[in-house]
Symmetry: C2
Subunit: 274 residues, 2 copies
């Protein structure tokens, strides 16, 4: 660690990267993405869900799936499907692939090492079932730091636990931002949302309409203009929360641009700033 | 660490415990077993497969299962089933349950942290498919030691990797003995096989016919008398291999006797000695 001009100890840079379901569903894209992930020289964490694979498995097993506001209603049988697909199949395939690329990855659910604790979502209007909301002190910074400092890169699946023996299906975007916020006490954290679009778009049909920078102020403006695509709003709300709570930068970009956004080249994706 | 009478540094005691499929299939037995596991004060590692759950899932998905000599022929679809059930569902349920019992467990496949590397079994008479045999230097002693020394208890599922991106279904008994042997360089290791019988039985129908001690010599005798139940022979061969390679003791016992065998009370189960 070096001392900055102000005399304070510079913190190491940590990249927290969420990968979207469409990338996971495309083996060639995933392979390229993992190659780029392996090459990142900063400390790094990967977060993934499972998307279509879980839905397909549930279908084959005859377990009906219900989505509300893009969130999966998780009954006991669906929880098993998500644990199998997210924490088992996809997580271990990603980890094995990273190991082959000389990236020493470790696959984790929130239960492992008590890494992320959550609470079952309270029923207000909708009963989401076995869905977890991460507790404010739910991220085990000490444990995750031990891994990072041992040059091991955690790969988190979208499963957490409540500390009382219950696994909980947990939104991967939220896991990424909770990790980023909690770890910003020890690291200079950049949070990156990688998906199948080139960033936040002015026109959702036009991949060339990327908005390069969004500030808290311009976000309000864009919202009032109705420019922001509805599915993007929870992601952006999450992102601005993260910035308010210590994360140094948030990027939203195409998965193929991972190298450029983590290097901060600044000409790809959307950068969110305070 | 204390110095022994001979002046050498005493090694810490490590319990490597393999739990059988019949215990996993019985929620009440499993719960009791995990409570006892949590209470062990030595360093400890748990190893599990998945047994019937994988077979049932394969059946529901219409994936035909073929067993040869008690080993599962693992085609690509079956490998996915085992990764989902062993490394996903069962592993994470066990870890969440241990966390609730204040045991800081971490679920691992061999790919995680490059913990266990194996090679795809060569086809001689039978093509076992995606089945791994553990390499002689396949166990990552340094990584596993870091976890143990941080008071984290690894829980291994029966999935390893070949270092080239391929997951491999791997016999859980063999994982347990490979871990025990490799870790005996740093620890005084006791290897414990826990299952639904009270030990190695003279009469497989009579749970009171436990053979308390088997030596290498008496094993030969028992084999020639045809006393040893066929399904037990690979387990015993494995066990004597482990003893030959540095493991200090091997116990074969009922899962309900975990506390007594790890405390070395000596009046339950079968003890194998050189």
């Amino acid at each position: 660690m070096e001392r900055g001009l102000g005399g304070e100890v510079d913190m190491k840079k940590l990249q927290v990267i969420k990968i979207g379901g469409n990338v996971i569903d495309n083996p060639a894209e995933l392979e390229k993405f993992l190659t780029n992930f392996s090459a990142i020289s900063d400390l790094k964490i990967l977060v993934h869900g499972g998307g279509k694979v879980a839905t397909e498995l549930a279908k084959r097993l005859g377990i009906e799936q219900e989505m509300v506001n893009g969130r999966r209603i998780t009954d006991a049988e669906t929880l098993k499907v998500t644990a199998m697909v997210y924490a088992g199949l996809i997580n271990k395939q990603i980890v094995a692939s990273l190991q082959a690329k000389d990236c020493n990855a470790i696959g984790l659910s929130g239960a492992d090492g008590n890494a992320i604790k959550s609470s079952k979502r309270k029923v207000i209007d909708i009963d989401y079932g076995f869905v977890g909301d991460i507790d404010s002190k739910g991220v085990n910074v000490d444990f995750i730091s031990v891994l990072l400092e041992s040059a091991v890169s955690p790969v988190f699946s979208a499963i957490t636990h409540n500390g009382e023996g219950q696994l909980l299906n947990t939104n991967a975007d939220t896991i990424a931002s909770a990790l980023a916020v909690a770890l910003s006490k020890k690291y200079e954290v950049q949070l990156n949302y990688c998906f199948e679009k080139s960033g936040v778009l002015r026109d959702v049909e036009d991949d060339n309409s990327v908005i390069n920078t969004i500030t808290k102020e311009s976000y309000k403006q864009l919202l009032s203009e109705g420019v922001i695509f509805k599915g993007m709003i929870p992601k952006l709300d999450n992102a601005f929360d993260a910035i308010r709570n210590g994360v140094s930068a948030v990027m939203i970009a195409h998965s193929k641009d991972l190298t450029s956004i983590t290097k901060g080249n600044g000409n790809t994706g959307t950068k969110l700033i305070a």
